[in-house]
């Protein structure tokens, strides 16, 4: 066994890989060899720390020093100063957005301080490509425990007692789902992991798969034991190449150690897992559509009942759980249902992972106890709004979710409160919006998405989303009619009650929630032909404020259509007829003399 005095963890999740962390690892290894430190200091590739905005991220143990935005050029200094002389390189440390004080250790950083990591507990701590590191942190002991000490019924009872609800969207109690499948008659049953994380702006499942793939494999085997299945499938998006690679490796390693395959732990239980790649169809995140896709057909949903627990994959009893749901299972078995149920609110137990993105300072991945308020997430963890602008809304739950306004910032987030607010947990994407975001445009954005992804099987979704999109487009183009709002509401209600699957049923949510909280914006678009946020191009006009214009002529030189004219040192004028509203003049003006309304 090699003994290294120091471990350097570098994130190789999608975020940091995009920030060039691979090249960083190669250079660091080279530098260490040059300084003769390669036997003292070990470089470890880990999964996501969650703080993607600061990538590439590097953490040095045993001190736990957190370096961010490290470039290849910085490495020589880190090796010379930190690894040879023991002096922390101050300029690479993190400092809070609202202060200049540098923070050395990463558990002191505000972004991490308010978090409680359960599903993500191994992400950024272990090397996901080494099954041994997962085992060293009690991995596969939960599987050992259920096989040695528990009956399938006891496992299901434990999951039920924990209060775990599905993390993929609907929030159905996981234990009950398992119980239905366990009780369904059938010689062959299946366990399916839904890793088709299609919601735009959501990446928690990707991070779990990249950072802790074995947790999902272990959980699936536990589920297999509980319901009496010996085959599992993971349906993962092809858009996540790193996750696919890590899962493939993890399955191989687990098979090699006999943790998947025949007669696991010599207890007579067989379980194996196959990987299925999605092919770019959002609707396949819906469980019945996902199953048809695994079967190798067009991923179209079908009516429920029968539910998959009775008739699922190839008509056999099947459970489908999402990645994050599975990631909680081994921890519940190890630490007990009571431990898990001690976190969260009355009806939503445990923690929830959220992907924090949009107009916020600290973007990344966070995990907090259920019931944490939006304010804590946006201001304490997220560090507030980008450029200190005003918070307007947060969009939660993707195309099936809704927008939550500032007035509800203090609402504790759980499944039921979100539904009451007109949104839903969805898979947990949180997109923060400021005053520069137009809510009508956002509703249109989501409708364009659902319209595009509608599989076309049922008319309410196929035709209904098309009509709603047409109305929204019309409004953003300044051609809205007074009756449009009523028509949108009527259409929304019909689609909600008549569409075949969740994709269609929830597609009006972005419209209904923005209408509920930002009706005035719709009205401004329709009646006054104005876009208050200054987004909808057709409703904007650019003007030069005479008092502020110094007559430098920079705007006129940059105008692509020569719509600006004037004499040097006198205020310039924009010709509204010619102006194509590209905004180039506004970007260039140094005096803030151009106004967009």
């Amino acid at each position: 066994m090699e003994f290294y005095r120091s471990h350097v963890l570098i994130c190789t999740g999608t975020g940091c890989t995009s920030s060039n962390s691979r090249a960083l690892i190669d250079t660091l290894k080279k530098e260490l060899v040059e300084n003769g430190l390669e036997k003292e200091i070990q470089v470890i590739e880990t999964g996501c720390f969650g703080f993607c905005n600061l990538g590439p991220i590097m953490v040095v143990y045993p001190e736990g020093v957190f370096y961010c935005r490290v470039s290849e050029a910085d490495l020589r200094e880190v090796v010379q100063e930190h690894f040879v002389k023991g002096r922390v390189v101050q300029r690479l440390l993190y400092h809070e957005p609202n202060s200049t004080v540098k923070t050395t250790e990463f558990d002191e950083i505000e972004f991490f301080k308010h978090q409680k990591r359960v599903a993500l507990s191994n992400c950024g701590v272990i090397d996901p490509e080494k099954i041994e590191e997962y085992i060293a942190r009690d991995g596969y002991f939960a599987l050992a425990k259920v096989l040695h000490e528990m009956t399938p019924a006891q496992v299901i009872e434990e999951i039920k007692k924990s209060g775990l609800r599905g993390r993929g969207g609907g929030g159905f109690p996981t234990g009950m789902k398992w119980e239905f499948a366990a009780k369904a008659p059938g010689d062959q049953k299946y366990v399916v992991c839904n890793a088709d994380e299609g919601d735009p702006g959501a990446f928690m499942d990707r991070s779990v798969l990249e950072g802790d793939p074995h947790a999902v494999l272990e959980a699936m085997a536990i589920a297999g034991y509980a319901i009496g299945a010996n085959q599992g499938y993971i349906y993962v998006r092809a858009e996540y190449p790193i996750a696919v690679e890590r899962l493939t490796k993890a399955i191989e390693q687990a098979r090699k150690l006999g943790l998947l395959g025949k007669n696991i732990f010599g207890m007579g239980f067989d379980f194996d897992i196959g990987l299925r790649l999605g092919a770019g169809a959002f609707v396949c995140g819906e469980e019945t559509a996902l199953l048809t896709s695994v079967e190798g057909r067009r991923g179209e949903p079908r009516p429920r009942p029968p539910f998959p627990a009775n008739k699922g994959l190839w008509e056999k009893p099947t459970i489908i759980n999402n990645v994050e749901t599975f990631a909680n299972i081994p921890r519940i078995i190890r630490y007990g249902a009571d431990w898990f149920a001690s976190m969260g609110t009355e009806k939503s137990k445990g923690t929830k992972v959220f992907a924090l993105a949009g107009k916020i300072k600290n973007t990344g991945l966070i995990e907090v106890p259920m019931g944490t308020t939006l304010r804590t997430i946006v201001y304490d963890i997220g560090g507030g709004i980008l450029n200190d602008k005003e918070f307007k809304a947060v969009q939660i739950g993707g195309p099936s979710g809704g927008c939550i306004p500032a007035a509800l910032l203090d609402t504790p987030i759980d499944y039921d409160n979100l539904i009451a607010a007109g949104a839903m947990m969805g898979s947990g994407g949180l997109i923060v919006m400021d005053n520069d975001t137009c809510m009508v445009d956002i509703a249109r954005f989501f409708l364009e998405f659902t319209q595009d992804e509608s599989c076309g099987k049922c008319p309410p979704c196929r035709i209904g989303t098309k009509r709603m999109l047409e109305i929204l487009t019309r409004i953003t183009e300044g051609k809205g009619k007074p009756e449009d709002i009523d028509n949108l509401e009527a259409l929304a209600k019909t689609i909600k009650s008549s569409a075949l699957c969740a994709l269609g049923q929830t597609s009006p949510n972005p419209i209904l929630s923005t209408l509920k909280y930002f009706r005035d914006e719709y009205e401004a678009h329709i009646h006054d032909k104005k876009c208050p946020a200054g987004v909808c191009q057709a409703l904007l006009s650019y003007t030069i404020i005479e008092d502020k214009c110094r007559g430098c002529g920079l705007c006129a030189r940059n105008c692509p259509v020569n719509a600006i004219s004037g004499k040097v040192k006198e205020p310039y004028v924009i010709d509204r007829e010619k102006c194509i509203k590209c905004g180039a003049c506004m970007e260039k003006c140094k005096f803030g003399a151009i106004e967009r309304k």
């Binding site: 190449p241 790649l277 169809a281 190798g296 997109i431 975001t437």
Partner: protein, 165 residues
């Protein structure tokens, strides 16, 4: 790498690699989608005669293969440019200005989204969320992800891949 077979090759012999892929999956249930993935990986796209070939080998109607190929966004029936520029149009990227980046590419490459440049060098696409929202707006060129983009980065990215050829 990529097979240069043209349309008349439907008769079979030229697609030995497809036979190998099908052979590998023969005992697997529901193997159609994995097979199409692998064939596309080799060829870059799935022209009609290839679809017909696969249908015949698997003993299913061509309509079923065609139905699957056209249902899923990742399967292409037309050849793509040498470099594929995919701009993420997920929500996080959208609110951080991905639309402007896309427009800039359209302008500089002088093609619309979904099209390929006449020299066959670039295909421009909008794509679904890449899950790199922390770095929004992002795009991928082939397998490489570029993040924290500004419209001023566009020219540089194009130049970089032009040089690589």
């Amino acid at each position: 790498m990529s097979c240069q077979c043209k349309g008349e090759a439907g008769q079979g012999k030229k697609y030995a690699f497809i036979d190998r892929i099908i052979e590998r999956h023969k005992d697997e249930k529901g193997s159609m989608i994995p097979i199409l993935h692998e064939v596309q990986q080799e060829m870059g796209y799935l022209p009609e005669d290839v679809q017909a070939y696969i249908a015949q080998k698997l003993g299913v109607p061509l309509s079923e293969v065609y139905g699957i190929v056209t249902f899923y966004a990742l399967f292409n029936t037309k050849p793509k440019g040498k470099h594929k520029i995919s701009i993420c149009l997920g929500t996080a990227c959208y609110v951080r200005g991905a639309g402007k980046i896309l427009e800039e590419f359209e302008k500089q490459l002088n093609i619309k989204v979904g099209e390929t440049t006449p020299d066959g060098l670039f295909t421009l696409e909008g794509c679904r969320c890449l899950g790199a929202c922390g770095l929004a707006p992002v795009l991928t060129v082939d397998e490489h992800v570029h993040g924290r983009l500004k419209t001023s980065d566009v020219a540089e990215i194009i130049a970089q891949y032009k040089e690589e050829k």
